[in-house]
Symmetry: C2
Subunit: 270 residues, 2 copies
Amino acid sequence: MDPDAPLGVFDSGLGGLTVVRALRERCPAENIVYLGDTARVPYGTRSAETVVRYAIGCARVLVNRGVKAIVVACNTVSAVALDMLRVELDRPVLGVIVPGARAAVAAAEGGAVGVLGTTGTITSGAYPRAVASLSTRTEVFGQPAPLLVSLAEEGWLEGEVPRLVSQRYLEPLVRAGVRCVVLGCTHFPLLQRVIEAEAASLAGAPIPIVDSASATADDVAAFLTERGQRTTRSGRGKLELFVTDLPKSFSTVAERFLGEPLGDVHQIDL
Amino acid sequence: MDPDAPLGVFDSGLGGLTVVRALRERCPAENIVYLGDTARVPYGTRSAETVVRYAIGCARVLVNRGVKAIVVACNTVSAVALDMLRVELDRPVLGVIVPGARAAVAAAEGGAVGVLGTTGTITSGAYPRAVASLSTRTEVFGQPAPLLVSLAEEGWLEGEVPRLVSQRYLEPLVRAGVRCVVLGCTHFPLLQRVIEAEAASLAGAPIPIVDSASATADDVAAFLTERGQRTTRSGRGKLELFVTDLPKSFSTVAERFLGEPLGDVHQIDL
């Protein structure tokens, strides 16, 4: 592939823009094409068959735009559809779960790992599987945390409500003695500060919080370097956004996740 | 139509089961066919064109099952697609917004009306329009309240978090001096008690809370009686459920909204 081809990133909605944000910090010169399947978000509550079908549809759009690799910026898709995507596409496919699991095993230093995610991600068992493939002795405790998704979308990022919600979700993890907590949903980096504070307050000592978006960006950068696929351009790469529906509060929510003003936004049908 | 034909009810997901629950209290002998478009929930964040297309698809499934009338148990669809459904279908179509608005105007006794709903319902302006058609002098204040949807789905129906979230959403309505609050989303009846308590505490006196699910059931009963379309059977009617995807926590969430054990559940494609 041409190393100057863009990276393709997709997610069920806009949460994957936190991965784009991390990628643009880590590999600023890369051009990125992002597809958010906003017409069918959220995937987290769908059956595995449906998620696989939707994911293949999204990935094909990116392949048709000539991307050099595909980053699945969605925990649900990474949990259930990664193998199928690798079979169906002739492009490298990178997910968010293995990088998050790897960073978590390192941060937990032999202790147990806690995971906050959507109900779909947690019940899929994808994090325990990924951790087991890295370290057979590490215990993993999962906690579905759907209200954190809504808080991130609403922009309620500090104050009493996010504090109490985080507390309620973290409590069983801290009681289980986890030594690190993975943010296993692309929405959660927005709430990292409050989650960190609550975890420390419940445990009586700081607990490292692993952001799978940053871990994924590190992985993508390493992958491109190893393959000699980093762009030869310098300067700031372009970002093109595609969505399948334009939700009413699109710009506000998208900019909150992306952390910069939006560039071009195109609506497409799938 | 045969008065013993079933009533058709549809919603973007499972929230419309609160309308089914109210219908089964108000017209217990009626057979009901319910369709929840769980593969494409939520509609509240989609564009109006998409909502209309999805709604027509759902309504046709019910027409093909021989229903005598269609109840749109979804505020978003009632807000943007009711006229189009009436044009496209040869069945009576009843929504949730006009009944809710009528009950609110009565309860507010000339004062202002507050509405809690999804972002889609509030920005559509459907409640102000419906209220204006009933009473030109009644002011309407809308408040998008997306976190209440997640709380209802999670089953967090009492305690500090629902209290604080309700408080935050109710505060601008109470400050505007509303004399009644409409629950303009089918998920919210589950949180009625905490919303009622917070409204009273903020206002320093009770504020009537209008549940649009109950108001709609009253409307449907009156409509069937006027048209001589009430079922001739007695006893408890049958309830058949159709969904477009079987979400992981389907039974728990569905029973929470329905308030009784589930009957037959069938999955269909749309």
